[in-house]
Symmetry: C2
Subunit: 161 residues, 2 copies
């Protein structure tokens, strides 16, 4: 399910769509809990060393990723749309409080829909132009986002209910 | 009333705050109705020749301004936060649908609070850095936003209730 407001454009956007066998509520929880994000949000052996979540439009979605060599990469972003168990939209184009960000790159949209197997999972990276879409693709979008989705499912299955 | 999420920073932001003697509901209506926007939204003799409003987070807030010489200047933006009669936040940092915009400049916040005289009116221009704040100031922010507020009040008073 995508919001009518979010219409992926194949020239500009990148999409990962998959059926996964875990329920929407647990996917939502894993996406919106800092301690969970640290477990799966970047492809291992990279790790997330810190995560701040203020789950409301304008609230912070900040993470720090660390390379195997120990170099740290902070990501600062802002939630735009929060519909529990259905839709989460955030961007690095704005800082928390909706302030324009110094290095805008993309808006992310997570759309969840209950399905027979569990969840119809759609993650979209929305870019402003083709060059940015291409650079995100070359940075390894498809492999990276698929890998973290595997990690997300494994994390949910390994977590106590 | 400003949202706790919107905290003006004097180094980065520009603020117009004033008591006006018209009720919040009519200020809200004038800000969210295309036909009204055309009457007051840019300092005369400039005019707004078209206005598109899709009043929801991610929805379009597009205007075209025309100089006295007939040159047209389109502004494309996206609403971020819509709380009727209280708070309206939009940005040109994102296009409608939350897509990163080619020429990000500022986020605008309108905060309204009922007061004894009518409305406590606060309009804030939120920028990403000091240089952008300064350039907005040099473009005539203070005079321009004060002039359109005068036009807004005059428009409301001249409109049939």
């Amino acid at each position: 399910m995508t919001s009518p407001l979010v219409k992926p454009d194949p020239k500009l956007d990148l999409v990962l769509e998959r059926e996964i066998d875990v329920p929407v509520e647990l996917v939502w929880k894993a996406w919106t809990t800092p301690e969970s994000i640290k477990q799966w949000f970047c492809p291992k052996p990279w790790i997330v060393t810190s995560c701040e979540i203020d789950l409301r439009p304008g609230g912070a979605f900040n993470t720090v990723m660390q390379s195997p060599e120990g170099q740290q990469f902070p990501n600062v972003g802002c939630y735009l749309d929060v519909v529990p168990n259905r839709r989460l939209i955030w961007t690095d184009t704005l800082l928390p409080g909706f302030r324009p960000a110094p290095k805008p790159f993309f808006t992310g949209a997570l759309c969840l829909e209950p399905s027979v197997s569990g969840t119809r999972y759609t993650a979209i990276a929305i870019h402003g132009d083709e060059a940015t879409r291409k650079s995100h693709e070359e940075m390894g979008f498809h492999h990276g986002w698929a890998t973290v989705l595997d990690q997300l499912v494994a994390h949910i299955k390994a977590s106590p209910r």
